[in-house]
Amino acid sequence: MKIFQQSFKFLALVLLVVLPTSIFAKDTKNDGGQVNTKEEVEAYILHHIQDSHDFSLFSYTNDEGERVHVGFPLPVILWTSEGLVTFMSSEFHHNDDGSVIVEKDGLKFAKIHSKIYELDKGASEVKFDEDHHATNAHRVLDFSITKSVVGILVIGLLMLFWFSKLARQYKKKQIPTGFGRVLEPLVLYVRDEIARPNIGEKHYRRFTGYLLTVFFFIWILNLAGLTPLGFNVTGQLAVTACLAIFTLIIYTASGNKDYWMHILWMPGVPVLIRPVLAVIELAGALLIKPFSLLVRLFANISAGHIVVMSLIAIMFTLKKELTPIGATGLSLVLSFFITLIEVLVAFLQAYIFTMLSALFIGMAVEEHEHH
């Protein structure tokens, strides 16, 4: 993916100046690192939308035919059968198919499709069955500081920095200046357009903090995912599941008597139907609602990444049919407009997630008029 490398270069150069810890890791496997066929494109895209154990900015093949990866290694923290094991991700040498074995504390580890496996006792290399499942290795609990965790940390710190600065501004003046002036209407938007109308005037204050955090967290991470840094945090099931479960816990914990009455013993319907309705309502409240939240965000963001990258890949896959210039032009035009749409989707998904969370909370704390 030469075009990726090109676009990464500028940003990488900037980061290289700022962050002296970045390293140039050399990978001796010589396949040129080029992604030309449909299968390779597919594999590349699938690899990209997964979480990664190192923060690679770009890679290229140097004159000696060595693959050079530019980026930072990240710490790998594993809970294995023998307890905690930590090492740097650079020890895998950017290998992702399980052929590089890392030995640590008497245990052997391999990385296969961005997942770290612990080899069974006595095994020296990973064996695969026909479905490409490892037969002599098992997954370990992986608490590594992965690329997504770095993304969460960076965006979290950024949010803390921006908004605490805004908070401090209010101590001195009524109207914020500078970047705070951009942030204030967004805060007001979430409060007045999402929290207040959906939860209601009486209770919205309690939940606004959570909704604001979630909204900005998702939105900024979605936008970060569109940069060449290639974060895909909101496209990780674990992260969206975590967000959805927070919402679930909040609206389940704050549900009032009316809410539970309507779930477990629906008033106004024949008694015989009530248990049936209770099952449906319980499934809706405890499973379907959070599941819809987590899948919607995950699917939209992942799909966005896949579509943008597939459109960029047009310049390789349709090179024969459209000539290189035609394929590049088509790819540029399409990916440009899809990226614009993705910017909108980034906001939209943050809005929908926050909106639905507020709606669910609002349903739980709503005070019904008794007829």
Binding site: T213, V239, L243
Partner: protein, 166 residues
């Protein structure tokens, strides 16, 4: 589904839960609480300022209405005062006229009485005077009667002339 489950990383789930909990707690404490409080304060400030302006406007209107009322009252008072004064004037004039009339009629009556008494006095004096004259004439007539009849008549004429001159 199998692939999705395989992609789900429990480790990342735990890490992101911890990080998100920390982020929410920190954001609420250091950002959202002060920001939302300040925003509420500001909005309340704006609201109270608007209310105050509205109140001031109402007060102003009330004042104006009061002024109008006072003016109206003053005008009414002036009118009643003028009316009263006019009435008073008419009454005074009428009273004066009446009094003058009464005075005049009293004076006329007095004058008449005086005239009457004068007239009576004059009549009485005239009577006594005429009586005296008559006696005088009679004396003189009686004195000269024998001497001259002609001169007697002449004398009576003279006496009468004298009497009228008196």
């Amino acid at each position: 589904m199998d692939k999705l489950l395989n992609d789900f990383s429990p480790g990342l789930f735990v890490v992101s839960t911890i990080l998100l909990l920390a982020l929410i707690a920190l954001m609420v404490k250091f950002a959202w609480k002060p920001i939302l409080n300040s925003l509420n304060e500001r909005e309340e400030g704006i609201q109270s300022a608007l209310d105050a302006a509205e109140n001031a406007k109402k007060e102003m209107e009330n004042l104006q209405a009061d002024n109008q009322k006072l003016l109206q009252e003053a005008r009414l008072e002036r009118e009643t005062m003028l009316k009263e004064a006019r009435g008073l004037k008419a009454k005074i004039i009428a009273d004066a006229e009446e009094e003058a009339q009464a005075q005049a009629s009293k004076m006329i009556a007095q004058a008449q009485a005086a005239i009457d008494s004068e007239k009576k006095a004059a009549m009485a004096e005239l009577k006594s005077h005429v009586a005296g004259l008559s006696i005088d004439i009679a004396e003189k007539v009686v004195g000269k009667e024998l001497s001259n009849k002609g001169s007697q008549e002449k004398l009576v004429e003279e006496m009468l002339g004298e009497a009228t001159l008196n």
